[in-house]
């Protein structure tokens, strides 16, 4: 290996690591606020990428039907309770769960979205995929929000399985790749940095900074942090844990879908690619003990680097090496944890 290759691998590792870092942050966030280990995070990556790819090939993405179906299901479940609260609440429910998906559907079917500029296609893809997050929270998690972590984890795995199956149904077994956001590349001392890698790293960094300000400065961000520290206490302060759950899932879905859009030009995305990508974010999150954001992000970048260098040295064992990284991490965690865990 010479310096040139090392730099190239390093660049690859950092680009992938930036995505893993985003996912790791989302995973830590979801776990802290809702105690859900969000295995389906990766499906949002795949859905985001493949929805965008569908627009570009002129197909109607199946995620659109899912948005409509989820909207109807949420409306049916929530209508009685919202009517009891008042007409305004019911109208808001209809607005978000029926009218909004309907408008998006008309927009997609009416224009085809094929010849839209890339940026608008990205926005439209996010507009379809991101609302699936809070809808999913409402349908799968909210009814058992107080269940033990283990039950929530098994539900997560079930949701993951269903979403992967739906992904196959929506997008088929073929992978897709989207054109790069920018074709430019910069040459620095023999190292070529592609425009897309700058996009990925830049967007990730921007998103992380935005999340920081959201949690530090905004009221909703503070409410989420309060819920993460103490659910019962937050509820007593008038913070709805349901709202916190939905908001968290909204953020997680947005981070997932955006990650998908960002990597779609770099790698071919299949309906089940998201799972492995999500799990690598997980390894990063576990490095941070599912609690610390900066350590999780650093761990995720480490995972990215490890992955790209091991794909050079032992490409067949790339996945084995990345997932075995979890073992030394667990050794270290179990040696530094002295706390006897009592049941929740």
């Amino acid at each position: 290996m010479d310096l040139q290759i090392a730099l190239l691998l390093g660049q690859d590792g950092i680009v992938n690591g930036a995505i893993y870092a985003l996912l790791a942050l989302a995973l830590v966030l979801v776990f802290a606020v809702t105690r859900v280990i969000f295995i389906p995070q990766g499906e949002f990556v795949a859905y985001g990428a493949l929805t965008l790819a569908s627009f570009q090939t002129g197909q109607t993405p199946g995620t659109l039907w899912l948005l409509l179906a989820f909207g109807v299901a949420v409306t049916l479940i929530d209508a009685p309770a919202s009517l009891r609260i008042g007409k305004g609440r019911f109208m808001r429910l209809l607005g978000w769960q029926i009218v909004y998906p309907f408008v998006i559907t008309v927009l997609v079917l009416g224009t085809g979205a094929k010849d839209w500029p890339m940026l608008l296609q990205v926005v439209l893809a996010l507009a379809i995929v991101v609302p699936l997050g809070p809808q999913l929270y409402r349908l799968a998690y909210q009814p058992i929000a107080e269940a033990p972590v283990l039950v929530l984890l098994i539900v997560s795995v079930a949701v993951h399985l269903a979403l992967v199956g739906l992904g196959l149904l929506f997008f088929g077994a073929e992978g897709s790749r989207t054109p790069a956001f920018s074709e430019t590349s910069i040459d620095i001392g023999g190292l070529t940095i592609t425009g897309q890698s700058l996009w990925v790293v830049g967007a990730s960094a921007l998103l992380i900074v935005a999340l920081y300000f959201f949690f530090e400065k905004s009221l909703y961000g503070k409410a989420l942090r309060a819920t993460a520290v103490n659910r019962a206490g937050a509820r007593l302060m008038g913070i709805s844990t349901t709202l916190a759950g939905k908001l968290t899932f909204l953020l997680a879905a947005a981070i997932g879908a955006l990650s998908g859009v960002l990597i779609a030009p770099i790698t071919t995305v299949y309906y089940d690619t998201g799972f492995l990508i999500g799990l690598k974010g997980f390894v990063g999150a576990i490095v941070g003990g599912l609690a610390s954001y900066p350590v999780a992000a650093a761990g995720a970048v480490l995972v990215g680097l490890l992955e790209s260098f091991s794909s050079f040295w032992a490409s067949a064992f790339k996945e084995v090496i990345v997932f075995t990284l979890i073992i030394p991490v667990l050794v270290w965690r179990s040696l530094t944890t002295h706390h006897v865990e009592e049941d929740e």
């Binding site: 795995v157 079930a158 399985l161 199956g165 492995l276 576990i286 996945e319 006897v340 865990e341």
Partner: protein, 596 residues
């Protein structure tokens, strides 16, 4: 026994099945048997122990690949030659599986509950890619022409012949698991769900119990893989991937994760459903693919929302005989050995200047007290005074920040609650910690855990029936002693709260302690019940037991206690005879508020 008759009919039907059914159904039953064996391990792990694993398919793979490689490899090293047959393959698979399970368990089980499943996800993925990329294991094409098994000279080449082997192994595994659950070790395993603190206070080594069930589940999976390899005579990585591991968990949860037969119900349902959906869905959607996962995912979410116990309890209700567990107890067992009782007046417990800080909060500030044999010391104080914290320091749940706790003349501060419990200190909990689904008798028998020594292998084979009957007899005696004789077969959770507190006392007594720590034992009791509790405590005192009592019922305390210690804001504000304490101005101020 009606339920025995049902099992017998079931076994006869199983034995006749291959004679009557066409090939297709025999094959299906073979797979159901193999899957049920894996799911059975998950019942033990998830439904009963409260842990979970998504990596069971990887253990199945280890069992399959170990025997596949050993029985087919062309140039085995000489030292492996004796293992180059199916039985050697089984042995190698079991040893490898045990090593991996012990390592994974040791790494993850000390951490909180979700690290084991996460660890097993990572391990499940790693091993799948490893199988697919190791040249000597045939890569993604796998290993073919595995020799058939032969039993007593008969080669099992046919699915019908294999059928009997699979189902004998499965029924044997069910029998072993049921035996285990109905034993001292089984109670310890079932106690895991009641919380680590309670189980450790009863002397259960919870870390070991967790590893044991993870190990058993892994070994069952490994045996299933070994059978699979010799049934198929061909292995490749596909059936050992993570998604299959997830399916195994679904089988256990949908069937009823807390019941051994739930594994069989779940394996049957998922296998049949999969067969049906794999035909139906691709036609319906007009595309090929594993669309059945959508249905499984939705089914699973539905089950966890609406029927977390799975299908088995629902099925068991249809056949009432199957629901009631046969009481294996006769109470004629000889009595257990007792520890020597210290002479009345011997100092038992000595707390000196114990301090406990939680961050900036000083919950206990230089607390001292002592209890002697044959004495009742009451610890009183307003809510939040730090009484429960002190209980935790004494019993080893939390180590003190500084200061010393001496029990029977030895320093015990910093030792684990299990070790302290073994020395003869037993306790009850302020918030009742019983296993609600277990009978009163079994809950109390859990207290006698430390007085037995037979381990898991003996329990699985039911070779420990003598000791078990002695333990249950002891539990029954303690139930009778505290006045619960009429309730011993009731589920502990069905009793009123006051009675549950009495069950806790019986459980503590079953440990044969010389010092008893009672945390608000009279709360929720009616007048007559309080009187009989006071009588019981007086009797214990007369027998030489030392008792430390936290209680808010002043009448109860003042009538009963020899001495009283009063706490407020983590400090001792008074100590002495009940009458002295009652007239102490500081105590009156603490309870009634000062006059400014």
């Amino acid at each position: 026994m009606k339920s025995r008759a049902i099992v017998a009919v079931f076994v006869v039907l199983l034995a006749l099945a291959p004679l009557a059914l066409p090939e297709f159904y025999v094959t299906l039953l073979n797979y159901i048997g193999l899957y049920a064996l894996v799911a059975l391990g998950l019942v033990l792990l998830t439904g009963i122990g409260g842990l979970t694993s998504f990596g069971q398919a990887a253990f199945v793979g280890m069992g399959a690949y170990a025997t596949a490689w050993l029985t087919t490899a062309a140039n085995l090293p000489a030292w492996l030659a004796p293992l180059a047959n199916p039985w050697g393959g089984l042995l190698a698979g079991l040893v490898l599986t045990a090593l991996v399970a012990l390592l994974l368990g040791a790494l993850t089980l000390r951490l909180s509950g979700h690290y084991l499943p996460l660890g097993t996800i990572a391990w499940g993925i790693s091993i799948y890619f490893l199988f697919g990329n190791l040249e000597f294991l045939g890569g993604h094409t796998g290993i073919g022409s595995i020799p058939p098994l032969s039993l007593a000279g008969l080669e099992l080449r046919d699915g019908r012949q294999f059928y009997f082997l699979i189902w004998v192994v499965l029924l044997a595994a069910v029998w072993l698991t049921r035996n285990l659950l109905d034993s001292r070790s089984g109670r310890a395993i079932r106690a895991l769900k009641g919380g680590v603190v309670m189980a450790e206070a009863m002397g259960v080594d919870t870390g070991r119990a967790k590893i044991v069930i993870f190990l058993i589940a892994a070994l069952f999976a490994c045996v299933s893989g070994w059978l699979y390899a010799h049934l198929q005579r061909f292995v490749n990585p596909t059936p050992f991937g993570l998604h299959v591991g997830i399916e195994y968990l679904f089988m256990a949860v949908i069937g009823g994760a807390a019941h051994v037969w739930g594994a069989l119900v779940g394996a049957t349902l998922i296998t049949v459903l999969k067969q049906w959906l794999q035909d139906l869905l691709p036609q319906l959607f007009g595309a090929t693919g594993n669309f059945e996962v959508i249905a499984f995912g939705l089914l699973m979410i539905f089950v966890l929302h609406r029927a977390r116990e799975g299908l088995w309890p629902w099925l068991a209700r249809l056949v009432p005989a199957a629901a009631s567990r046969p009481a294996s107890a006769d109470f004629r067992g000889e009595s257990l050995g007792r520890r020597p009782v210290p002479a009345v007046g011997t100092p038992l417990l000595e707390v000196k200047d114990a301090v406990k800080k939680f961050g900036g909060l000083v919950a206990n500030d230089r607390m001292s007290l002592s209890v002697s044999a044959g004495e009742i010391l009451a610890l009183i104080g307003p809510n939040g005074a730090g009484k429960s914290t002190l209980f935790n320091l004494i019993t080893g749940v939390d180590p003190p920040t500084s200061g010393a706790v001496q029990f029977l003349g030895q320093r015990v501060d910093g030792q684990s609650s299990r070790v302290i419990a073994r020395k003869g200190m037993s306790r009850t909990f302020q918030h009742v910690r019983l296993l609600p689904a277990m009978s009163v008798l079994e809950n109390v028998a859990l207290g006698a855990h430390m007085r037995g020594r037979q381990g898991v292998p003996a329990a699985m084979l039911h070779l420990e029936r003598n000791e078990e009957s002695r333990l249950l007899a002891e539990a029954a005696r303690q139930c009778e002693r505290v006045g619960l004789a009429d309730h011993i077969h009731d589920a502990a959770g069905s009793l009123p709260l006051g009675k549950q507190r009495i069950v806790e006392i019986a459980r503590a007594l079953a440990a044969d302690p010389c010092l008893l720590l009672l945390d608000e034992p009279a709360a929720g009791l009616r007048f007559l019940e309080k009187q009989s509790l006071a009588e019981l405590l007086r009797l214990l005192r007369a027998e030489g037991m030392g008792i430390l009592l936290v209680e808010h019922d002043m009448e109860f305390v003042m009538d009963l206690a020899d001495r009283v210690v009063v706490m407020e804001f983590g400090k001792k504000i008074a100590e002495g005879l009940p009458r002295e304490v009652q007239s102490n101005p500081a105590v009156i101020e603490a309870y009634l508020g000062g006059v400014d």
